[in-house]
Subunit: 472 residues, 2 copies
């Protein structure tokens, strides 16, 4: 008869202990497959526990398949494989490689200044959402996002961007990267997607990770070259016409029209207009979107609130032309919306009550000031006379071309030794850009102004080292 | 000379009006490509506005490419296509088809009872997060989720599920569907994925929407048939071994071992263990996970908090075996985490402070009561004697086999006419199940108890209609 010693309530209830004892005996082979277990009553008497305890233990073993019941016969041990001896050693988790280095100054990362986040307002709206919208918060949002948020986005776009958008055209998602995934499924994995060269490498990486064919189209002073595009088979073009990354080029109206004509020529050509930082234009009015200029329903517009509110807020959206709506619902309407209700309702309030536009106004002022300070330091500090700045009218970065003979990779390596992380324009080429471009991409939004003069002195010292013999 | 009449500050600033006037003239052809614009000073004097106004208008036109500058010559109209006449009519947005019908009672939808959400606690933790974690909230979370949340999940799994997991193995994402996308990219689009037949159709839909090959493997009383699996080429199996949907089958230990052996036989075979509602087990202890039984690092475990806390909270996670971690970081580490910081930190607190386990305990009690009430109504109400219930030990649904000769589709249609939405077991077959199974899948969690007796009377009436002449 099975005999076990129970511990006093320390390791779970009696039935759990009994379940574990018997399971152990089955796994160790002490109880063999086919062997009949004692009846509940017999075992209960033998172990001096209640029948309920034995019943519960047997039922758990039954549920997990360690034993089986034969009607009116009782319980029998099932066929169970014995684990090998070496089961204890847990596999090692490989340590994360390439831990982020502690840079003295990082020119490559577009971190936001935490002081800019409208914390008090956001927190108040979140509390308000929690109090007012308790019912809605528990329902899953529709596939395309909460109606309140879509209406608020459409209202904002109408009022401040001059865009006519029906809330039904808007699809809300947890980040633009995720919307690309949906677009690949919507437009077709068999299509070839064109991206800008140079450009934001993550976009191509996402297409390639999805094994979708990518073509790289060069840009000239008017942005993506449509004549080069025509020499390719791409049917979908992914661009940022209002502010190309990283050159800052604005696509002029003539090139836009040329691109829209290209798209209208075939039925399944589309343009993905990624408008990720159009809100930060420091000169003149906002540039009208390609979406608004399009008359043939070929432009899908994408934007995000992560850049304008905070990176940890993951809310992006896309606007589909009406001709794609029905296809989207049929093919992808079964996907659940990826953004939590709390944040959708909070953002809707933030937009409706005008906080977003006020926040943007403040951010534009602050970033303009920051940009001016950083530019002044570049032009008048240790690098004075050896640097030319372009692409500063919009976005949170500008280009700084350095007078040097150092190839970009050497410059980056030497800078890294001095604690400086540099992004070079040549890094943004897929095929390898001109390594003698000597052009820094300066992401200024998160730069520590205290450290900047010293960082530029270090950079100037590197340049000096390598231009010997100009004066003896 | 260009002559325009300005409106009094109503339609934007003077420079905006001037910009719009000139743009209009360019688009209408009144100003031709190549034409020279008057100098800023001349136009300013002519229109009686400041030079700054003209300068700003010209710069905006320049930025958008309507005009171009030639050095020391002035500004010239660029080549711009004229829009066709028909530009006004905005395209119609197709109305959403198949609006949800207002059902009298919906047996098919697993809605949560809003009263069950731990609203006060969640709101308090959210406020706490807003107050305490302001700095962290503004930084983007690492690709795999906030460290605090991953530590909290690992702690919960260790304490309540007996799972040994390193927080580094956890990847947090905005919903399980999204994690499937990542897994397809991680394990390979070229692989064939096996799903359960019958099963949750959305899983196959996601693979198919990604053009990944899907194979349907039948289940028997021990769950997915490994011998049938062996007759297929699938290398990845997507299953819910602890609670199959919709039959409720628990895979016994013998079958689990057989499946794990299958996986270990080839280097790139994996099992996706979708443990979506294992928390709602009403009988005995929780069933140990397949992940814990696996000794060859072939099981990827997935679970979600949307089912247990609220559908509008989009936080899921997966646990990768250590051998896949490095591959994940290299291939997919560039994707941003899709869950907002606010909710990650709030959930971390909810787990750490033991609220989650207490919440689950309450939910288990409430749902057990709800299940008992619904089952009693089925067994003792209008359908008494004509229904057999199975699969009620776990999850938020059970099966109810009806005594009827009506094919499932006819039954569903007649029920719909009476305002009842029915899910039938045969609906969960890809190839078409036994339409004479007459088995309802009763999702009881959101059922309105007031309406249930009346709904069952309507159902009984339908069954009665169609069993004529048994008594004359």
């Amino acid at each position: 008869m099975l005999t076990y010693t129970f511990e006093k309530r320390e390791k779970g209830s009696l039935y759990e202990q009994l379940y574990r004892f018997i399971r152990g005996d089955i796994l160790s082979g002490r109880l063999q497959a086919g062997e009949k277990l004692p009846s509940k009553r017999t075992l209960a008497q033998h172990l001096e526990v209640s029948i309920i305890t034995v019943k519960n233990a047997y039922e758990q073993l039954l549920a997990e398949g360690y034993i089986h019941a034969r009607q009116r016969c009782g319980y029998f041990v099932s066929e169970v494989e014995r684990p090998p001896e070496s089961r204890q050693a847990a596999p090692a988790v490989p340590a994360e490689t390439a831990k982020e280095q502690g840079w003295f100054l990082d020119f490559a990362s577009g971190a936001m200044d935490p002081a800019y986040f409208p914390f008090t307002v956001w927190a108040r709206l979140m509390r308000q959402t929690i109090l007012e919208q308790d019912k809605e918060l528990l329902r899953a949002a529709p596939y395309n996002g909460a109606a309140e948020l879509r209406v608020a986005i459409a209202g904002y776009l109408r009022q401040f961007r001059g865009m006519q958008v029906d809330p039904e055209q808007i699809i809300v998602g947890a980040g633009t990267e995720l919307l690309y995934h949906l677009l690949i499924q919507l437009l077709g994995r068999d299509k070839c997607y064109a991206v800008e060269e140079p450009g934001y490498s993550k976009i191509a990486a996402i297409y390639e990770s999805n094994l979708v064919q990518v073509q790289y189209i060069g840009i000239d002073e008017a942005g993506l070259s449509v004549s080069e595009l025509r020499r390719h088979t791409a049917q979908v073009v992914h661009i940022s016409p209002t502010h190309h990354y990283p050159t800052g080029t604005v696509m002029p109206i003539g090139r836009r029209q040329e691109l829209l004509r290209w798209a209208a020529e075939e039925d399944e050509r589309y343009i993905l207009e990624d408008d990720y930082d159009s809100e930060f234009r420091f000169v003149g009015r906002p540039i009208p979107t390609l979406y608004s200029t399009d008359e043939n329903q070929r432009v899908i517009y994408l934007n995000t609130f992560s850049k304008t509110i905070a990176p940890s807020i993951r809310i992006s959206y896309m606007i589909l032309p009406p001709r794609l709506l029905e296809r989207y619902r049929k093919k992808l309407g079964f996907y659940a919306c990826t953004v939590s209700g709390f944040e959708q309702y909070t953002l809707a309030k933030f937009l409706e009550q005008g906080h977003f536009e006020r926040h943007l106004g403040r951010m534009r002022n602050r970033y303009r000031q920051k940009r001016d300070q950083v530019m002044a330091e570049f032009l008048q500090g240790a690098l004075a006379g050896r640097v030319k700045i372009t692409g500063q009218d919009a976005g949170l970065h500008f280009l700084a071309q350095l007078q040097t003979v150092l190839p970009d990779a050497v410059l980056q390596k030497k800078a890294a030794e001095q604690g400086l992380r540099l992004a070079m324009l040549s890094d943004y080429y897929h095929e390898g850009g001109d390594a003698r471009g000597h052009t820094l991409v300066v992401n200024y939004s998160g730069l520590d102004m205290q450290r900047l003069p010293q960082a530029l002195r270090r950079l100037a010292d590197i340049l000096k080292e390598e231009t010997p013999c100009t004066t003896n």
